[in-house]
Symmetry: C2
Subunit: 322 residues, 2 copies
Amino acid sequence: MILLEQIHATVADGLILVEEALREVSRVDYPLLAQLIAHVLRPGGKRIRPSITLLAGKLFDYRLDKLVPMAAAMELLHTATLVHDDVLDRSEVRRGQPTINSVASAGTAVLVGDYLFAKSADLVASTENLRAMTLFAQTLMVICTGELRQAFGAKDPNSRREDYFRWVQGKTAALFATAAESGGILSGAPERALDALRAYGYNLGMAFQVVDDILDFSGSQEQLGKPARNDLLQGILTLPSILYLERHPDDGRLRRILERRATPAEVDEIADEIRSSSVLADAYAIADEFARAARAALADLPDQPARQTLESLIEFTVRRSS
Amino acid sequence: MILLEQIHATVADGLILVEEALREVSRVDYPLLAQLIAHVLRPGGKRIRPSITLLAGKLFDYRLDKLVPMAAAMELLHTATLVHDDVLDRSEVRRGQPTINSVASAGTAVLVGDYLFAKSADLVASTENLRAMTLFAQTLMVICTGELRQAFGAKDPNSRREDYFRWVQGKTAALFATAAESGGILSGAPERALDALRAYGYNLGMAFQVVDDILDFSGSQEQLGKPARNDLLQGILTLPSILYLERHPDDGRLRRILERRATPAEVDEIADEIRSSSVLADAYAIADEFARAARAALADLPDQPARQTLESLIEFTVRRSS
């Protein structure tokens, strides 16, 4: 079993500076506000996106003065989307902790999310790298468009796995791809390596989200740090429920779930059927395909220890239980 | 009386392209979503910020290929903050029209605001100008920090006019300053002119917000396109109520308003007292000071018709009734 600590160890010097940069973000005027921001950025997160940026940079000219702000920006942008997602879903718990909208207010969560977006853009600007800044702005667009697509599409019982892949591309894979590519950009990687890093990040991100959505069915609240079956409870389709829908297109219960008219017992029934059928195994097979593509992309990168760590990160992503 | 149409006329060619760019923003997959975005960006807004960018550019090398995306980005960023503000305040009406949070949901308004933020960053990136992009990222930070400060500070009965100026700097003046300076940056203005443009924009923005906050007391709902006395009803201090508080520090009614414990009759009483006292005249005098500083900054800019229009814009800002 690959441990996250082993992955972090390769870029430990950079990650310490990333944590410092993240602590800096919560230094604001009002103590309550500082506490809320420190709370969502507290150490102990997986820090997968900043690790990817640092590892990509380590394959070339490992300039931490450029890589650290970019890596921190990746974590901030990710956190900003989570904070706003929790407003949308009215979630009360995330990573085992109460959300900002539950301890403060939805309005405060909106402003804190905006502040984290802004701070991430500001950190990317501090790299003074036009290409990294442009990539960041485009990624922001892809993410926000993806969020809108999912919000407007994921309650539609006619959604297919292709729709899901499109949502995930915007929601998760775009940021993973940018985390990898920007690490290459800021460390002087050649074009061919940038293509490889982007492909690696994209496919790793797809695998990551598919596994996340599987764990939402197979994991317990304790493991996940948030309520299990959360997506289904919210009436949101993800890969497992879409695969189920492909097999049982006429199941009225799932349609009622999407319309938020199902009873809690019906949600439990469907979740149990998904869990005990081969749907989750099929979803894992799809995650494995993305993992394979991510692994293949690594072939175009320098054969160095950091590349080995990027490969371990794929395995961690697919095998993790939380 | 200066009309907005006269101000727009000087840069009519650019404004037509800005409207086109804004229409482009609402071309998204889902018809309902497209309608919501088109709704908040519909023509008929004052378009003051994009006009400033274009007018600043017109003083130098008037390159519309660079100036138009920047000008559109200024309007988008402004609109994004309004959309999120309406979520915070749970406002139902803005510019005489229902808000997104009232016709759709708070969650949709959060996502639409995020999308507008992202689109503005993307448009700025399309200028391929590192300095403009850096300025934009910094401005985003100042605005979001200002929003947080106001949210956490503007209900504090110990707030002074200095606090108010600090909130307005973040909330309004920073964007006006960037609208002006970025127009100069993208049209090759010399450093001294950039300083002048920034000072012009900053002071115009301060005057603009002071007048906005005066009109909230002196205007009718019909004129304003939103409920009058809205800030007071929300328990938010602005310059008129702060000036009132300076004179009547022990008025328990105002303190109860800030704690949202006042009766509607008490809100009306205070609003009437502010309106019939010299508070509004004093606030206008403060707006005039900022207007004077904005006018003084123009001296360092080329003596051309566009400069005359920038001067007219100051007068419009201070004399407008809505």
